[in-house]
């Protein structure tokens, strides 16, 4: 069996990463948030039909579940008030941060797009969190969470020493995107290096010494 060179993989690496952070932001915009509209939609049953689903009914002061892109669009036009998602309450975040710091083997469950959603809410809709202090508090907590998880990820990656499986559960989308290229390709390298070993050991045991082919 010819051993393919490692260079099949290297060629693929140097291109652009397959998923850009901007694309991840696009996916994150489909997460649902609760808004309180201040208008009433002039359509039958007040529902808004979008390509991907119907949202509504939009009546003033009645909370409604919409995807984030719609919420932000309405917010820009001053037509609604966005409620911060429940996982973004500062005490909730503090809890998760504590757990994250104390248990170092695995990660806490976080919303899949927490980085993107928090970034978008901070840039577009700062007022929803309350006073300035609150905003800073939540922002700092999320930054801390990102840092702690990041260092955990690096620790886990460092322990890889062969083509084994590594337990990296509960990673958010942006974190897994960051390590995707590096991790995938280094695992490929490991497999290449280990492939030789296994094949010959089996070849030797079976007693057939296959002549080397290209």
């Amino acid at each position: 069996m010819p051993t393919a060179s490692l260079f099949e993989y290297i060629g693929a690496k140097i291109e652009e990463p397959t998923l850009t952070p901007e694309e991840l932001e696009f996916f994150a915009e489909h997460e649902k948030v609760v808004i309180i509209p201040n208008f009433s939609l002039n359509l039958p049953s007040s529902k808004l039909s979008c390509v991907e689903g119907t949202y509504g009914p939009f009546r003033p002061n009645i909370p409604v579940d919409v995807p984030l892109y719609l919420a932000l669009a309405l917010h820009r036009r001053g037509k609604c008030r966005i409620q911060p998602p429940p996982w973004m309450a500062s005490d909730k975040l503090k809890e998760v941060l504590e757990e994250e710091r104390s248990i170092s083997q695995y990660f806490q469950p976080v919303p899949q797009y927490y980085v993107e959603v928090s970034k978008m809410l901070f840039t577009e809709a700062r007022a929803i969190f309350g006073s300035n202090n609150d905003v800073h508090e939540v922002q700092d907590l999320i930054e801390e969470l990102k840092k702690v998880r990041n260092s955990k990820i690096l620790d886990g990656l460092r322990k890889v020493s062969g083509p084994i499986t590594v337990k990296l559960n509960n990673l958010s989308a942006s974190e897994s995107n960051k390590i995707r290229l590096l991790f995938e390709n280094s695992l490929n390298m490991w497999h290449q290096l280990a492939k030789n070993d296994k094949e010959w050991q089996e070849g030797r045991m079976a007693g057939t010494d296959t002549p080397a082919t290209l």
Partner: protein, 203 residues
Amino acid sequence: MTDYWSLDGALAEETIVPARFKFGVHGVARVLEPGSTSNDVEPEAKVDAPLWLAAALGRRSMVTISLPETYHERYRRRLNAGAECINLKGRAPYFYDVGNKCNEFLQDLTLSAFLARTYATRYRELVSRGLSTVSGEDMLELQSKLSLEELAVFEAGRESVARAELWARGARPRATVAVLPTRKRAAATRDGAEVAGAARQKA
């Protein structure tokens, strides 16, 4: 075999491998060894050949291949002692690839274990430096020591993290500015017009 068009593959196979010719070869001695006295290669002569040539001949059992120097005992000992400090880029930029290829012929089990072990130690350094964007001196120092395969992995990691941070800051990735050909053409016509005008004035 692998991708015929792969540039890295072709470059990797340029590495010199010591080979011993079983049979004599006419007329190519000058090519393989610029300082040789005769035109022919004697049978049982030791000649340094590029990997692509040695591998092709080895398949037809016309040569016996031995390992290049970087995989010999002395280097193995050094690498086993301190793998991350050795400069692979200068000595053997395609370290793993050539090692793997040679292993097909020699079937040396210790070699692949040795390669895996070096990769393991160097990989740890790679990861810790590769996923942070602080480009300090030590990162540059590490980069100059990586073999080309490791370098690609390193760059890939750094690139994705840099992209993510750029996005988090709200910035857009800078598009590469292409040289605008229209300006040159306009300048050319301007010059041409001037020359034509001057010529007309003279005439």
